[in-house]
Amino acid sequence: MTPDLMEQGAQRLAANTASGGREAGFGRVAVPGQVDTTHGRILYLEDVSVSFDGFKAINKLSLDIAPGELRCIIGPNGAGKTTMMDIITGKTRPDSGTVFFGSTIDLLRHKEADIAQLGIGRKFQKPTVFEQLSVFENLELALKTHKGVKHSMFFRLDSAQQDRLLDVLHTIHLAGSAARRAGDLSHGQKQWLEIGMLLMQDPKLLLLDEPVAGMTDEETARTAELFLSLKGRHSLMVVEHDMGFIRTISEIVTVLCDGAVLAQGTLDQVQADERVIEVYLGR
């Protein structure tokens, strides 16, 4: 390992962990279900590959995300962005590679629902809310709590949970529509409701697939504001095509192409990258 890489690593640890990474060296007991981020990484993918009918959707992809980081992912259609999220959330099993949540949780050993309960929330490309239920009920279902059958049968919101629900309703600007059917909301509002459902889950890591698609400029601006306020407390991975939006929120941008990382850096750096211009931005 070259000195400059070591230097970079030390900087990352200093920036992303409370103890500057010093805790990492101590022997600790791994608590089941608890995310260990003392090594400065909340999500870690290494050499992940998956192919569908011979088509390599993901090809030796390696990527990591720090606690509290807001990472933007861009790339042409078919670059494997959504497939990558499918792998992280347990929807797709990779053919090879490792995917870790923190340093101790092997995500490939868990199912979708477990992964969600561990603290990874996901917003789909097409807004997916429960259309027949009200906005309020949508949020209530997403609330972080026991999700077993018996618990659901006798569940009642306590006042702390009500407050939390109200908070989120205000955050996503749907306080006036709590009793409305989710199916009657506008496209942008559905996007927000879905983001609200993520917030109710209180995940440590949020995966957001094209969160501002179909939003008005004003809505987009407010979403950017929301994401920036989430940064630090949560880690976010945002897949977007809207460059203006990315410019507002991004620190580091990762460019995916053909199922692997093509370039990584600040938006200006990647925009100046010849290869990125070639495959994605266009001349």
């Binding site: 027949q132 999700k147 059958v149 205000h170 006036g176």
Partner: protein, 401 residues
């Protein structure tokens, strides 16, 4: 509730709902017995024995329709094999009733007649508990429940959904029918069980016993209705609806759909089993015909005609379709199946929400005086939201729209 924004928790039934509920309870437990037993036969108010038998039978079907609504209407899983669970409950009860015949059968033997006819000397092992009424009650619940659990566990774990699931349930009911048709299975083959004489030692064919079974069926139906209301009004019920509308989203919210589907599937099957057990002593026969594919499809038709995901609808649907059936099969027997097919197509095309949906649509079209203050309060609410500083005006107008 302390928060004006959050909608209050809906009551189990509205005032009007409770009114109708108790009216129905009085009708089956008091009114019907009086009209049948004490009003003289010539009177216009007299409820005939035929009427009691017919309504009693239809109430059993209504329980099945209610069970179908839970699994199909609320969870989006169309079962075309609920006839199996209905018949299993019926067969368990039938076995008990066969044992109650004792030595009064044609062959004057301890064994049921069909076994003597087959030249069997002892009871098969699976008849071991059939002389105990308590065991019968337990098995009425347990047999359909266990069969549903095993079938459902493997089907849902393999994530079989939609039309594939429906086809598999059809195959299941057909296979079960073939199995029960065999004499060697020990359930009387294609004749099934009939010629019952007693239940709990009391003669079964009396007017009083018929009325008792009728009232019991009515109370069971109403009890199941309340239970179903409670289920769908709980968060459990909302998770079921969420599974129906967007199952992947449910998973990514941290719910494992398998136990939810399995629970409602087993509950639904058990309800059918209980309905079958109430049906057999009233109708006096159970045979593998109850497991025919058409019988299970008919159950889906009752639910669709009444209106899915309404609970009241399927009960109405069971009464409407079976009322029409008992009339048509007398008036023009050859047309019944055509009518059933046409009804299913018509409901699918023109009444996706069934009779209840139609009624709601009509009720909405002519505004009642109650609607006006409601609209005002909505407008007031929107006004309040507008005055809230955190919410920009553009958002509110959109929300108000």
């Amino acid at each position: 509730m302390s928060h004006p924004i959050l909608p209050p928790k809906a009551p189990l039934l509205t005032r009007k709902g409770w009114g109708a509920f108790f009216a129905a309870l009085i009708a089956v437990c008091a009114l019907a017995p009086v009209l049948n037993l004490w009003v003289p036969e010539g009177s216009a108010l007299h409820l005939s024995d035929y009427g009691v038998a017919l309504v009693g039978k239809i109430m059993c079907y209504a329980i099945v329709a209610l069970a179908m609504d839970l699994i199909w209407g609320y969870t989006g899983i169309l079962s075309l094999g609920h006839g199996v669970f209905f018949a299993l409950g019926g067969y368990v009860m039938g076995m008990y009733l066969m044992r109650q015949i004792g030595r009064d059968g044609n062959y004057k033997s301890d064994l049921p007649d069909f076994m003597v006819f087959l030249d069997w000397k002892t009871l098969p092992w699976h008849w071991a508990l059939s002389d105990s009424f308590i065991a019968t009650l337990v098995l009425v619940v347990a047999v359909p429940g266990v069969v549903a659990f095993v079938f459902g566990y493997f089907a849902f774990r393999s994530r079989i959904k939609g039309v594939y699931f429906s086809i598999i349930t059809q195959a299941m009911t057909f296979a079960a029918m073939l199995l029960f048709f065999r004499n060697e299975t020990g359930f009387g083959g294609n004749n099934g069980f009939t010629d019952f004489k007693r239940i709990l030692g009391l003669p079964i064919a009396t007017q009083g016993m018929r009325m008792t079974l009728f009232a019991l069926t009515g109370c069971t139906l109403l009890g199941f209705f309340l239970f179903a209301r409670w289920l769908v009004a709980s968060k459990f019920g909302r998770v079921l609806q969420a599974i129906r509308d967007a199952e992947t989203r449910v998973m990514f919210c941290g719910y494992n759909p398998l136990p939810y589907k399995l629970t409602i599937w087993v509950i639904s099957a058990v309800m059918c089993g209980v309905a079958g057990a109430l049906y057999v002593p009233q109708v006096g026969i159970i045979n593998p015909g109850e497991m025919s594919t058409a019988a299970s499809i008919e159950m889906a038709v009752w639910t669709a005609v009444g209106g899915r995901a309404t609970l009241v609808g399927p009960i109405l649907g069971a009464f409407l379709v079976n009322g029409a059936k008992s009339w048509l099969t007398v008036a023009a027997p050859e047309f019944w199946l055509y009518f059933l097919g046409a009804l299913f197509i018509a409901v699918t095309l023109f009444l996706p929400d069934g009779v209840v949906g139609l009624w709601r649509r009509l009720a909405r079209r002519k505004p009642t005086p109650v609607a006006a203050p409601l609209r005002e309060s909505v407008a007031r609410e929107a006004g309040q939201a507008r005055s809230a500083p955190a919410v920009p005006a553009a958002q509110v107008t959109e929300a108000a729209r």
